[in-house]
Symmetry: C2
Subunit: 154 residues, 2 copies
DNA sequence: GATAAAACCTATCAAAATAGTAGGGATAGA
DNA sequence: TCTATCCCTACTATTTTGATAGGTTTTATC
């Protein structure tokens, strides 16, 4: 899991929490999450193109969730940010990528692992995460230092 | 999953299948699996240092499994070859890496994901894989082209 | 003992992926 | 018109990956 997935997830959660007061701007997110606004732009652009976010341009503009948090899975978010969640490429499709998928038990192994790992990510919705987040008194606080780099910076 | 995990797994399965006739040399494996002998050396060295393989030096030497296949899990193999199976680093330990693990729900999310994914890998043993392999008529054949690169070469 | 087959070790290197930076549009509220 | 914001593209530095190369040590066999 690279910074794309980690920062991007923080961004979308941050957005979900703050979007009641209207679209959330990149500047706000970058400031709250202590991330580079320029870099964040790339990640949020992916989320928008992946149809998870809508945007409003101009002053007072920003981003907001395109769908209900309960209909957005963690798997969807991560796949958009990081690409397919799969151990190896040849397990991705039934196409003519692998020489003989059905004759290859290691291939089938990768396919099964891939399916199971995706299930783990897909059974969690953004709604679940938000619910979990709200059980904390200080939601902002629990965002401050999610990553090793942040701790080192500090 | 990089080539380390993929090639390394092929190597250890190949070894397990052929070790009845004595230690299996790198040359044999490299030839059967169509891999670079030099590169394979690195991977097998990791497996040996990880105490999954023993070696015999000199002519007729080679490698063999240090333990019973049923006691070696896929998770163990992959962790040795690829490093910890975890979405993000801060979910690895209870140590003072993250600022406040217990106050951070995203941190807990990573921990839970990490645990569940490791379970998927750990519930499969090398013994299981071998059993699966032997259900194929042509075990050698199903090894030939496991990876995208191999198919492209072909 | 000499030869050779093998494990073992270290350094180096090219290519790819990652993590960002920079700078300039386009849009729209004030 | 001004400016805050999204939007887009190009560039770059660093790190990781995937090797390659060349040597040393061990040991069975002749």
């Amino acid at each position: 899991m690279s910074t794309r997935g980690r920062y991007g997830l923080r961004a979308i959660i941050d957005m979900a929490i703050h979007q009641e007061q209207g679209p959330v701007s990149l500047r706000e997110i970058a400031s709250r999450q202590n991330l580079s606004e320029n870099y964040l732009e790339h990640l949020v652009a992916s989320l928008r193109r992946g149809n998870l976010l809508n945007s409003v341009r101009g002053p007072m503009g920003g981003y907001y969730l395109a769908r209900n948090p309960d209909s957005i899975t963690l798997g969807e978010i991560i796949r958009i940010l990081e690409g397919p969640i799969a151990p190896v490429e040849c397990s991705l499709s039934q196409e003519e990528k692998c020489a003989s998928p059905e004759d290859c038990f290691v291939h089938r192994l990768w396919q099964n692992l891939s399916r199971e790992v995706n299930e783990i990510f897909d059974k969690r919705t953004l709604g679940d995460l938000l619910e979990d987040a709200h059980s904390y008194k200080n939601i902002e606080g629990c965002f401050k230092f999610l990553d090793k780099e942040d701790v080192e910076k500090k």
